[in-house]
Each structure stands twice: as structure tokens, then as C-alpha cells.
């Protein structure tokens, strides 16, 4: 069964360092997302990506965040200068349907710990 894969599963970094989280969405999907979940809390939308550009982003997704689909298969989330409050589980998701109309397939997540 096709699945969304994310790497690394856990990353520890120092405050102010850059972090790149990697995702390989399901191959025939067209819509890609990053969500994050601070421990024990809700799943928060960060950004959606379609046709090689950002389609929507939340208030959380400020200038320190960026996304890229560098090679047609990978989908990356970059945090330029990490802050303590960026510590969270970051989930990548993909879908073959228009946003809000079909199932989101989530990866297993990348846990980011900022010290």
C-alpha cells in the first residue's frame, strides 16, 4: 500500500540552526501539506502546496519557513532559524483530491526538538 514517508524521524537541533524536514508523498498525489503538532495538542495546518507553488498558508508559516519540491518526488520543509517554540511533531500529508474533499494521507512524522 502506498504511503507517505518522512525523514528524519527525530531531529535535535540548537536554537538558531536551520532544519530541513523531508517528505516523499504518494507518487500520484498532487496536493501536499505540512501540519505540526505540539506535544499533546491539536494538529495545526502550516502550508499547502500544489502545482509547484504554495496554495495556502497559515499565520504560523512566517518568513522563517519555506517549502520546496526540488525533484518531483521530495517535498521539504525548511525552518531557517529554529526557535524553542518550533519543537513539535511535523507531519507531511498528501492527497489526490482537492483540499477538503478527500482523504489526507499522513506520514509518520518528524519530531523536532529545539534546545
Amino acid at each position: 500500500e502506498p504511503e507517505v514517508t518522512q525523514t528524519p524521524s527525530h531531529q535535535v537541533t540548537q536554537m538558531g540552526q536551520e532544519v530541513i524536514l523531508h517528505c516523499v508523498p504518494i507518487s500520484n498525489h498532487l496536493y501536499f501539506y505540512w501540519y505540526r503538532q505540539i506535544l499533546g495538542q491539536k494538529v495545526e495546518f502550516l502550508v499547502s502546496f500544489y502545482n509547484n507553488e504554495i496554495s495556502e498558508k497559515s499565520e504560523i508559516f512566517d518568513d522563517q519557513f519555506s517549502v520546496e519540491r526540488p525533484d518531483g518526488s521530495n517535498f521539504t520543509l525548511k525552518i531557517r532559524s529554529t526557535k524553542l517554540e518550533d519543537s513539535a511533531m511535523y507531519f507531511c500529508a498528501s492527497s489526490g483530491n482537492l483540499p477538503g474533499t478527500g482523504e489526507l494521507f499522513f506520514g509518520e512524522g518528524s519530531r523536532l526538538t529545539v534546545l
Binding site: Y33, Y35, Q41, K42, V43, E44, F45, S48, E56, F91, L98, P99, G100, T101, G102, E103, L104, F105, F106, G107, E108, G109
Partner: protein, 110 residues
């Protein structure tokens, strides 16, 4: 705008039933339900589109009341495997990314 879920947490014995509610202050196009087990990714349960439909998935079903702008998830004859946090996700226009509620933690005990 974030949907509001209730209750925040519920403890059930195996075989008991539960209802989880999800309400919105804005008109909804669709409501999505996901379950997340501890340390895992959210897993899709079902989607309900506006029109007041009801859907079923094993012993888990859901309804969507468009007028009341709310959805309810029904878990009947609960099993230990039902334990987890249930999130509703809402979409307002038919083409917007899901906004999830804070979740309802369900614990089923033997």
C-alpha cells in the same frame, strides 16, 4: 476558524457507546474525522459532505447536520482498539485545507 470538539476526554469500558461532537461557528462544506493513536500519525476515518448525510465505518458512524453546523461521531460497542484521540477537521469552501479541532481523547478499558 477552529472547530470545537466535545468532550475533551472520555473513558469507556469495552462494549459501551460514545458520541463525540464537532461544531463550527461558520457554515461547513465538509467535515472529516481522523483517529490518532499515541505516537502515530492521524488516520482517516471518514468524510461527510454538506447535505446532512450519515456514514458508517465498521461500528463507527457519523452524521453531519448542516443547519446546526455540527457533526457527531458515534462509536458503538467500543473495542480496546478504539482508544486514541479523535480529531474532526473542517473545510469551509470546498477547496480549503483542513482545520482540526483540539481532539477528543478516548480511552477504552477492559
Amino acid at each position: 476558524q477552529q472547530p470545537v470538539q466535545s468532550p475533551q476526554a472520555v473513558i469507556l469500558r469495552e462494549g459501551e457507546d460514545a458520541v463525540i461532537n464537532c461544531s463550527s461557528s461558520k457554515a461547513l462544506y465538509s467535515v472529516h474525522w481522523y483517529r490518532q493513536k499515541h505516537g502515530e500519525a492521524p488516520v482517516f476515518l471518514m468524510i461527510l459532505l454538506k447535505g446532512g448525510e450519515q456514514k458508517g465505518h465498521e461500528k463507527i458512524s457519523a452524521s453531519f447536520n448542516e443547519k446546526k453546523q455540527q457533526s457527531s461521531l458515534y462509536l458503538t460497542a467500543s473495542q480496546l482498539s478504539y482508544s486514541g484521540t479523535y480529531f474532526c477537521g473542517t473545510d469551509f469552501r470546498g477547496n480549503t485545507p483542513l482545520v482540526f479541532g483540539k481532539g477528543t481523547r478516548l480511552s477504552v478499558i477492559a
